[in-house]
Amino acid sequence: MNDLIKENKLLDAVVSAFKIEGKVIRDRRVEVLADKNMVSSILLFVKKQLGYIHLAHMTCVDWIDQGEFELIYTVYSPVDKITIFVKTRIDRENPEMENIDTIWDQANTYEREMREMFGIEFPGLVGEFEFILEDWDQIPPMRKEFDTHKYAAETFYSRPGREDAKDVREELNKRSGAKVPDFAKKYSRE
């Protein structure tokens, strides 16, 4: 159908401006992989030059194997209806990312959440520390090395009767006699 003209134009603009690689995922979805120092300038560029004025979302993925956090800034343009993902990797040991709530105010909320949930430091971030969690003394709970199952088991009183907690999907398939699909096996608890 449409041959992704606008998407490619956007990709070329960003890539040629910053000498970074990126790709068009599908129509109306473009992603660029940037270095952590470039991110703010890229965001400013797409906001001011290309009219991508809406920071739709901002999240973090914990790549524990590579020892990295991946931060994803989701920016949207109401004019040409394209969402661009600006992705960057930061070190997992002492995670620190520059604070962009000067560009978008709503980034402040996301950054405070990440600071609490992943322990990523945003220098110059305003707002008191306790945002969602109250008096939390463990490692940040969204990090993958934090075993929430164990923590819940030893912190909260767990009522007896859940020892045989099974995978619902497996149980259903057993009863219905259908074989478990492979993707399901991958997710099962055993």
Binding site: Q138, T148, A152, A153, T155, F156, Y157, S158, R159
Partner: protein, 181 residues
Amino acid sequence: MENDKNSQKIVDYIRNFSRKHSLFVLAYGTGCGAIEIPATMTSRYDAERFGIRGAATPRQADVLLITGYLSTKTLKRVIRVYEQMQEPKYVIGFGSCTINGGMYYDSYNTINGLDQYLPVDVYINGCMPRPEAVISGFVKLQELILAGKANNGEKYRENLEHYRTNQKKIIKNWKMPDYNW
């Protein structure tokens, strides 16, 4: 008249009868269960015919209705609200989250089992319990009240240390004012 057993019995029966038939519910709408309460009050299920009506503040309320999961952060507020209620006061745990954590049983931030922290009179299980279930739970509570078995307010006051230890186990820095009790 205190020594006279029969008259005391009669007085107690009258009191319990009135308590049974007039329950002011403070629905603490935590989690997804809160949406079932309006349905329960509306004209299809009409909880008011049992004398159940909403109360605006804990001072006026008899029943504390915990609808759904309780995060540790919310638990602190719920405890304060419960302690502001006047005796006799009842707690209804609503939905499987309050019973055993439900689908959040392994969450780092959601309690499993409300009765460790507050004395629960009646549990309504299900995820979510439908309004019929809610009404049946209230009817069960009313039976307990009429039988004079629903006196968990005193239990809470007597075993306050037990509950406090449980509460302080998960509410790390206990900044609750002491004028509640």
